[in-house]
Symmetry: C2
Subunit: 382 residues, 2 copies
């Protein structure tokens, strides 16, 4: 399902084939938390050339529920998105959003942040929910330990994650072999990725990588980063962990990150990314541009007739001025969120296209330095 | 600028030529309060075939200000809308939204609902602001009397409105003749419409119509309806007032209404309408369909795979189910507002297209009865 077509240093360009089409890597996946990328229609996503979108299992499990979505024919049909989808396992949101969590070997019990209702997420349940959602790529349930954690706590956590990985894979193979009563398989070609944890410890990352690879998945993710450590610690961890993963399989860095993070982690062998940053920051008026970060609410833009990013070809930049975007933000207009989101996603996805092109041309290092210059410039908002 | 091309009873089809293009009438104008039709981009508006949009002078005067918009080249350029625009005078919002209003012959002083800042709106000022906004059609400042009003109060009110109409026209002619210092004319071809008031009194409506027509405008509006009177009172007032207006000029019924109101008032000779109903109700989950009103939040739609309106060809109905729209509404997703708004505007504008086609074919009465059947059916939401 994955083929590396070009290499430039540790950076690689490739294609990931899924039941809903081919994804060119390195790829950034916009986050569609509740069955939609916030403020974007599917045609907006096609307009910004999104090739794969991430869905959050935790949110969809709670509302409207994976059973309801399975009865609708799966998440693709429900949300009107015909291109590839990846779903996370729900674990990260359980550990960050849900109330009254109790974890043991069996799984995690928690209460919904929406209405306090009690739920349980086991490794098998996380696999079943994603089978019902019918994403093209499903993730295993992992533990995201509370930080700071001692080495001992972190060691116990990666052991639990490894045991859960085995159970997730067994369940997936069971579903593939003949199904499980009560579980609707909405996508017969769903792949499953394992997740390596271990914080910023090279030893724990190595152990977790070995255990996860030993289980055998169609791809591997690096989880537990971008949770408060410095960029240097993150880059170092990616640099030591990525080579421990099978070179013929896709590598996904979860929850990362800034444009600079993307290029730095591609440089260390990462193929896939997701992050709420371009969408969430857009709704807060923060725009990513070829000239750095721009906070559109700033009064200096009130009479600025130039587009958000003069170098950008997105719908927002082709049609609207900074003055208008600032007005929409100040006036609290919904469409301000939509136009900002459209721009930020275009910027992210265009940056990924630039990265892919540069890898193919052998000019990745030049692209990387150029991106660094964009974001190390004196910001537009001192 | 206005040509009646077909008649069917009192209903008429025509073309209204403006500096930004030709508008086919009868027409419904989506309301773009703060320099945007809420939740819609200009390309969404083109997608639903909006031919003219209304801008609210009160809101734009307060924020971002007509001076700022004039420096951007006018409202069309500011909001990225290249088709016709009509602006109201700001009067209606001053009387419904602003705080601490005091009215005298000179004009109205009020405080902004946003920050309490003091403003004054005079007839001349209302003309100047709209000149700076550069709409294709500007409205005169009229008084919208508080209801209920005695006959004497209403008589005083239409007299004030008539005096203001004279001053508005004089100011407009002054602007056209050579301009006014400090006022930027953003649209050299701006038309100006007068407004007939008088509540539901035939006598007062007749007086107000005579006085307004005597001033001489490019078109005439009927104001002060859809403010609490019954539909029958409104239809009766339109029926007696419309024939008092020049048959060769466009007639605009302000702030109206439901789909049934539109067809009933076209039947009485109205050419133009605006109303927040399709956009505001969309954001509250209420959809207008060929089968009547549908409240998308209703639990009965949770597993309904049919489109909002099976007879509709809009983007929303071609791609999404009631189940999905309900999920977006319940989850509070922005894009639910956008998809609902897109559908409602499509429904309204498609209804107007149906009305125009029927007038041309001489089948208006049949169309009118058919629309009545849609909305008198047992609602989808008992």
């Amino acid at each position: 399902m994955f083929e590396v077509t070009h290499r430039d240093g540790a950076a690689r360009r490739g294609t990931l084939t899924t039941p809903h089409g081919v994804v060119e890597t390195p790829v950034f996946m916009p986050v569609g938390t509740q069955g939609t990328v916030k403020a974007m229609t599917p045609r907006d996503l096609e307009d910004v050339r999104a090739s794969i979108v991430l869905g959050n299992t935790y949110h969809l499990y709670l509302r409207p529920g994976d059973d309801l979505i399975a009865r609708r024919g799966g998440l693709h049909r429900f949300m009107g998105w015909s291109r590839p989808l990846l779903t996370d396992s729900g674990g990260y949101q359980v550990f960050s959003l849900a109330a009254r969590r109790t974890i043991d070997d069996g799984g995690v019990r928690f209460r919904s942040h929406l209405d306090g209702a009690a739920y349980e997420l086991t490794p098998e349940k996380a696999v079943d929910i994603q089978a019902q959602l019918g994403s093209d790529i499903a993730m295993v349930l992992d533990e995201c330990p509370a930080l700071p954690a001692t080495d001992e706590e972190m060691r116990r956590s990666i052991e639990l994650t490894a045991r859960w990985a085995v159970r997730c894979r067994e369940r997936m193979l069971e579903l593939r072999a003949g199904g499980v009563s009560g579980v609707t398989i909405s996508n017969g070609g769903q792949a499953q990725f394992g997740i390596v944890q271990g914080g910023t410890s090279p030893n724990l990352r190595q152990l977790s990588a070995e255990w996860t690879v030993a289980v055998g998945f169609e791809g591997y993710a690096i989880g537990g980063l971008s949770v408060g450590e410095s960029p240097e610690e993150m880059y170092q961890t990616v640099e030591t962990t990525a080579p421990l993963l099978p070179p013929t399989q896709p590598r996904y860095l979860m929850g990362v990150g800034t444009p600079v993070d993307l290029v730095e982690c591609v440089a260390r062998g990462i193929d896939m990314f997701d992050c709420v940053m371009p969408t969430r920051n857009a709704r807060n008026g923060q725009l990513f541009t070829s000239e750095g970060i721009l906070n559109i609410k700033n009064a200096r833009f009130a009479e600025d007739d130039s587009p958000a990013d003069p170098a950008c070809q997105c719908y927002t930049c082709r049609h609207f001025s900074r003055a208008y975007l600032r007005h929409l933000f100040v006036a609290g207009e919904i469409i301000g969120s939509a136009l900002n989101t459209l721009h930020n996603l275009y910027y992210y996805l265009d940056t990924m296209q630039g990265i892919r092109d540069a890898i193919a041309l052998g000019t990745f290092e030049k692209f990387r330095q150029s991106l660094h210059r964009s974001f190390s410039r004196r910001s537009l908002n001192p």
